[in-house]
């Protein structure tokens, strides 16, 4: 092989990798432009203020974001209340207490949990958890936001546990030893040394779990009752932003106000997940300063 050829091969690969890198950015920008373009078309017809303050989503007449947004936030909030403590405690158990057989079963089992398709989780919600909720609380219908929150918690758990466990595991043994060396118990070491040091990673874990919960569609579509009424609590049937887009996109006439409205919903969803990311990054940075 002469040197000319070698230079050519070298360059070819450089361009190949460059293309791959730029393709990702291209896709991201493309999606963003598509969302903005269609949302603008929507906002020409419906005033943005009416959209974000409207309390009714009834696509022939009213395009009010609030009931859908409230549904999404309610179910995500409920899921996080369940998943964050459970996830962090499990991560601590795996990383700091579990040994041998327990650990070797627990970790793959949790990863397996994330391999369950969301439609199966939705199924579980319809046939097991929803009847359970209606029996325990004496409700006629268990397909409500509590049901959705429990299912989303199950779905967010593997992400939270895996990422949080990595972060906890990455805390250097040397500083744990320093803490034990001062006479600290396991609990004080965990509370005052391990958790603060792992904090950025734990925030990332929670953030990813929350992103998973907000963006999840199939499960909430199946198991939360599909009600467009404004939610009043965890026993209300709801319909999230994602479920609304999924249900209505298939039937909506092309290029109508309704069609553009679904893009506006998607844009809102995108803005929510993005602000969660930015916020989490800022919290993580503030704490990382000490490391």
């Amino acid at each position: 092989m002469n040197s000319k050829q070698r230079v050519r091969i070298d360059k070819t690969f450089k361009y190949l990798f460059q293309f791959a890198g730029f393709a990702c950015i291209g896709i991201l920008v493309g999606i963003f432009i598509m969302l903005i373009y269609n949302s603008v078309a929507f906002f020409i017809q419906i005033k943005p203020l009416d959209f974000v303050t409207g309390t009714q989503w009834n696509p022939s007449l009213h395009f009010g974001l609030l009931p859908l947004l409230a549904s999404t936030l309610l179910v995500t909030f409920g899921a996080m209340i369940i998943a964050i403590p459970l996830g962090i405690c499990t991560a601590l158990f795996i990383s700091e207490y579990a040994t041998g057989v327990t650990k070797s079963i627990l970790k793959p089992a949790i990863e397996m949990l994330s391999a369950i398709p969301s439609v199966v989780i939705g199924f579980l919600g319809i046939v097991v958890i929803s009847p359970g909720i209606s029996a325990v609380f004496g409700l006629s219908n268990g397909l409500n936001s509590l049901n959705g929150a429990i299912l989303l918690a199950i779905m967010a758990l593997p992400t939270i546990i895996t990422v949080a466990e990595d972060a906890i595991h990455a805390v250097p043994l040397t500083i744990k030893e320093a803490s034990y060396g001062l006479g600290a118990t396991k609990w004080s070491t965990m509370k005052s040394i391990v958790l603060p040091a792992a904090y950025p990673g734990i925030i990332a874990a929670v953030m990813l779990g929350m992103g998973r919960a907000i963006g999840e569609t199939m499960t909430v579509l199946m198991a939360t009752g599909n009600s467009l009424a404004f939610p009043t609590g965890f026993f209300s049937s709801i319909r999230t932003i994602t479920a609304t887009i999924a249900i209505e996109m298939g039937e909506v006439p092309f290029q109508t106000t309704h069609y553009h409205g679904l893009f506006a919903l998607a844009l809102i969803l995108f803005l929510i997940t993005m602000s969660i990311n930015v916020l989490a990054e800022r919290i993580a940075n503030r704490i990382r300063k000490f490391q």
């Binding site: 040397t174 030893e177 034990y180 060396g181 006479g183």
Partner: protein
């Protein structure tokens, strides 16, 4: 030499100590008495078990499930392996400084205050003890204006002195030092050595070192270990000038290690 024998009181009494990691025997029948308010150096080639021996003294091996220990270690006449011993209390009494400076990812102040909080020192006394400890470890002048900045911004030598400050803050009787200068430059090493000589007035110090000149400079007694056995243990002057065993002589003359 016999006539100049230093008068001492034993604080740590080690007898018939054997330690296994799984199948591998790392310490073999160690027996030695460590003198109170003296500096005892543990020397020997890498892998001879000196750090392992040091870490048995505050039961750091409790953290490794495959370590098995037999034999006795008594500190102030109490067997540290007895089931009534609360290991956290033992570790408060027997402090430890590690090979690499390992400050907590907290502020300078909190690095010291943490040990005080977990050991139940009263809240009002903590600021005063923090300051005292920083004075004792020759660090106060360098850090007095930045007590609430992250400890990780200090230089390596300052970090190690902070680790010493944090150890002495909880008022131990014994300080174990595991090659405390191996990651430091010569000037920082010198400062730590001065500090060790100063601390000797109040504390019993056991120091593992790779550096034989350091053992000569700071220690009163030296134990030479080889392949898990205690080869020779005597006054430092004796070990370095007139060792009994040929093996010791070869090691201190740099024939191996």
């Amino acid at each position: 030499m016999q006539t100049t024998k230093i008068q001492t009181k034993t604080i740590i009494d080690i007898s018939d100590l054997n330690l296994f990691f799984g199948e591998k025997q790392v310490l073999k029948n160690i027996g030695m008495n460590i003198a109170e308010k003296m500096v005892t150096a543990l020397i020997g080639p890498s892998g001879c078990g000196k750090s392992t021996l040091l870490r048995t003294l505050n039961r750091m091996h409790d953290l490794s499930p495959d370590a098995h220990i037999s034999g006795d270690i008594s500190i102030d006449g109490q067997n540290i392996f007895h089931k009534n011993i609360i290991v956290n209390n033992l570790r408060k009494k027997v402090g430890m400084v590690f090979q690499k400076p390992n400050p907590f990812p907290k502020s300078i102040y909190d690095n010291i205050a943490y040990g005080l909080q977990i050991n139940g020192f009263s809240k009002e006394k903590i600021p005063q003890i923090v300051e005292e400890s920083l004075h004792k470890s020759y660090l106060f002048e360098e850090v007095k204006d930045k007590l609430h900045e992250p400890a990780t911004r200090l230089s390596g030598g300052q970090q190690q002195r902070l680790c010493i400050a944090r150890t002495i803050a909880v008022k131990p009787d014994i300080i174990l030092m595991d090659e405390p200068c191996s990651a430091l430059d010569p000037l920082s090493t010198l400062k730590i050595e001065e500090l060790i000589l100063d601390l000797k007035k109040d504390y019993t110090i056991v120091i593992v070192t790779h550096n034989m000149q350091q053992a000569v400079r700071v220690s009163d007694f030296t134990a030479f270990m080889y392949l898990g056995e205690l080869v020779e243990f005597d006054e430092t002057i004796k070990i370095f000038n007139n060792p009994e065993k040929q093996l010791t002589k070869n090691y201190i003359n740099g024939h191996f290690g």
